[in-house]
Symmetry: C2
Subunit: 453 residues, 2 copies
């Protein structure tokens, strides 16, 4: 008798686990995936580029279709919404195209993902207010754009908010972004956030910061017509919610599982929620650990979801691997401005109890004399007593953002800024100065810190 794995949710984490386990175990495991929508294994992160027109169809964002998964021996049921988890009986109940069905399991993986945070204010249920989390959400935004709106307000200036603002601006809409924080992208320190705000404004996006949304006004047909804020109403035809997401875990909570930050499920490094009852979880619905602060964190991101799913799949196949936690590495682009961060920002380092030095340098993306040299600003946070790197942030032009990976790997290995400045990074005039920007920043920090005690 093969073991039976039931996976709730068919996106990155769920399908990654399903595929990994099936590939390793073959006929020794039956894998059933229940997905409420019609897609599997898609890139939610790609939605802003689909809306912008860079990506032609939703299908382009799908890494593997339900049919392709089925061809690999995975029983994928789309249009199937799980309504109940019975962890003691070892079964799930789902509303499927064939009616309500019950499925027993030996192993259960909860991979229900995240959902956009909807501000708890009057009018938030008006028509014309869209989140951006699933391909269905993306389709709804594109349908709304077909109706030729003139104005859009993006509520929230995080990654999705900023990316959607660019997409809407490029489609010719009068675009307003409102955010609570004093600058766009709250995970970027305010001094660099100012550079992002300046870029967005130069691109014609109306960025309004330190603004709190207090409600939405709608018209007689229930369609949104204004975003109401503590600084007045902003008339609009369309609203996009970019105020972040929270874990989609009502189902798990309903089954009595504990939830943590933003509703996410605490899991052990193997992805186990409840080892005794064979319950696993992965992806945007789980908590993880920030390796720098040592604290629990909620970082819903496709790159983690894929790895966490892989970890669960390997463990199901009897190979002991662990998800090692995250650094909080993230990146994006606004028109030609590249933005990246990893580890702790200035305030985060203080909050985590570090006595930190902060340095900020300007550099160029290639040797300064090369025609492709572009400007970039790097900020580095380092612990004073140990000289250990704690975090880095980058804002700059083409060729800037990828350098965050060097900081991420330095952080991962708990390197000091002194050691980082002496490493052997790539050098050639089209790509870097003779001191790479990463090493210029590390050197600036090391110099300011002085010789170690």
């Amino acid at each position: 008798m093969p073991r039976r794995l039931v996976v709730v949710g068919g996106d990155a984490a769920g399908m990654s686990a399903a595929s990994t386990a099936k590939r390793a175990l073959g006929d020794a495991i039956d894998v059933l995936v229940l997905e409420r929508q019609r897609w599997t294994s898609y890139s939610a992160c790609g939605i802003p580029y689909w809306v912008a027109g860079d990506v032609a169809t939703a299908g382009d964002l799908v890494a593997r279709t339900p049919e392709e998964h089925r061809a690999n021996g995975i029983d994928v049921r789309t249009g199937s919404t799980v309504t109940e988890l019975d962890l003691d009986a070892g079964k799930v109940v789902a509303l499927t195209p064939d009616g309500t069905q019950s499925f027993g399991y030996d192993e259960l993986l909860i991979a229900t993902g995240a959902e956009p945070i909807r501000p708890d204010v009057p009018g938030v249920e008006s028509r014309g207010i869209h989140g951006v989390q699933t391909l269905t959400d993306g389709r709804r935004v594109l349908d709304a754009l077909e109706t030729d709106p003139k104005h859009v307000v993006i509520v929230g200036a995080g990654y999705i908010g900023v990316e959607m603002a660019e997409a809407c601006m490029r489609r010719g809409l009068e675009t307003v972004v409102v955010g609570k924080h004093p600058t766009p992208m709250p995970t970027i320190d305010d001094d660099l956030g100012e550079l992002i705000a300046a870029e967005m404004r130069a691109d014609g996006i109306d960025v309004r910061t330190s603004v709190t949304v207090t409600g939405f006004e709608d018209d007689a047909e229930g369609r949104v017509r204004a975003v109401v804020t503590d600084q007045g109403a902003i008339p609009t035809d369309l609203v996009i919610l970019g105020a972040g997401v929270r874990a989609r875990t009502e189902l798990a909570a309903g089954a009595g599982l504990p939830t943590g930050i933003k509703g996410a499920l605490p899991v052990d490094p193997r992805g186990r929620v409840d080892a005794e009852r064979h319950v696993w979880a992965a992806g945007d619905c789980v908590e993880t650990r920030n390796r720098v602060s040592g604290r629990a964190a909620y970082v819903p991101l496709g790159t983690h979801a894929n790895k966490q799913g892989w970890v669960v799949g390997r463990n199901l196949a009897g190979v002991d691997v662990a998800f090692p936690g995250v650094l909080g590495t993230a990146m994006t682009k606004v028109v030609t401005l590249e933005i990246a961060r990893t580890g702790l920002g200035e305030q985060e380092a203080a909050d985590a109890g570090f006595d930190a030095l902060v340095v900020r340098i300007d550099a160029t993306t290639s040797a300064g004399y090369m025609p492709n040299a572009r400007s970039m600003t790097i900020k580095v946070v380092a612990e004073r007593s140990t000289h250990r790197l704690l975090g880095a942030q980058i804002v700059g032009r083409e060729g800037a953002a990828l350098r965050i990976d060097s900081f991420a790997l330095a952080l991962w290995n708990e390197m000091t800024v002194d050691e980082l400045m002496m490493t052997d990074l790539g050098y050639a005039p089209p790509f870097a100065s003779v001191w790479d920007p990463v090493q210029q920043a590390a050197r600036a920090a090391a110099t300011r810190l002085g010789p170690r005690a």
Copy 2:
């Protein structure tokens, strides 16, 4: 009485040490730099881009002029060729614009750099055969191009050879590159080298591999008119030597100092050649250590020269810092093809005694669905028993090469491919797939290696 530092050679290593020591010690040190040419602190690596026309003037390649160094309190004497080192007496003899002079020192830094290897074959002293090492060399090549040659042969297909081939091709010359190795860029494994050859040929460069140069023919005026090889003569108007460099250490050897690989001076990690007699060396004239193989290596590169100079400068100032060795990271670009490597290649790993796995993957520089996605090929070498990364090579389009830094930092920290695949690298569709190409390659290696014993 201030101590007196004499530096022989005013490029990257020499001026970096001079500036670092002067900045730290101020009036407590007198710094005299003797430089045989007229420039200081210039980028030799930038010469191909100057020849190509990307960089307008030699001055653009100069990071700091003699005048600027003098304003910082460093006594720079250009046009001053040191002819003798008397290490027992603690003095150097130089031929200066004011005649032969002798300078006493408390500390001596040898930073004499490298010189192009001139093949030891008949006719190599003909006119029209140029190395590319100093700005004077670059000026001579540009002067030669002014005479409107139609044909150029580049002897040697290493980094400089390939970069100069592109420069000459872009200036409209019929360009032939001859190399001894079966593919261009001998530090890149042959299978990836084939991709480089294909790119160069598609760009109109005549790449001839596995060819040995046996001599040069000249005309009645002593001007080169053909490169003679074991596969026939190649008529030409101009020859550029791109067959690598060796350390310029006749002076040091003449003073009785031992030399190693390609004539380079063995130094300790602080840059000391002879601690008792206060002799230091740094830059393209010294040996270093490859951290992966543990062996001595000769890697003349501006990025190391700057760091080694800084290390000497700090030690002169009483701060104990060490140059930690190199990984052999290198990168370049041929038209739109980016090329990078770090650590050990397939053959190098075998030579160093490792039982290694080699994997090769194709990936894209950004999410595959993005319009800016470009192809790249990554090759990874890992030790079978430990899963430790030993090296990586990348050949691909825009956005490919910078990823070598991730491999370099993984190597630096002696990471396994299993650990590298689970790190937190930057992810966003314009920059990477949900599994970064680096992690796809590490995952492919980890999968092939299987669970660790």
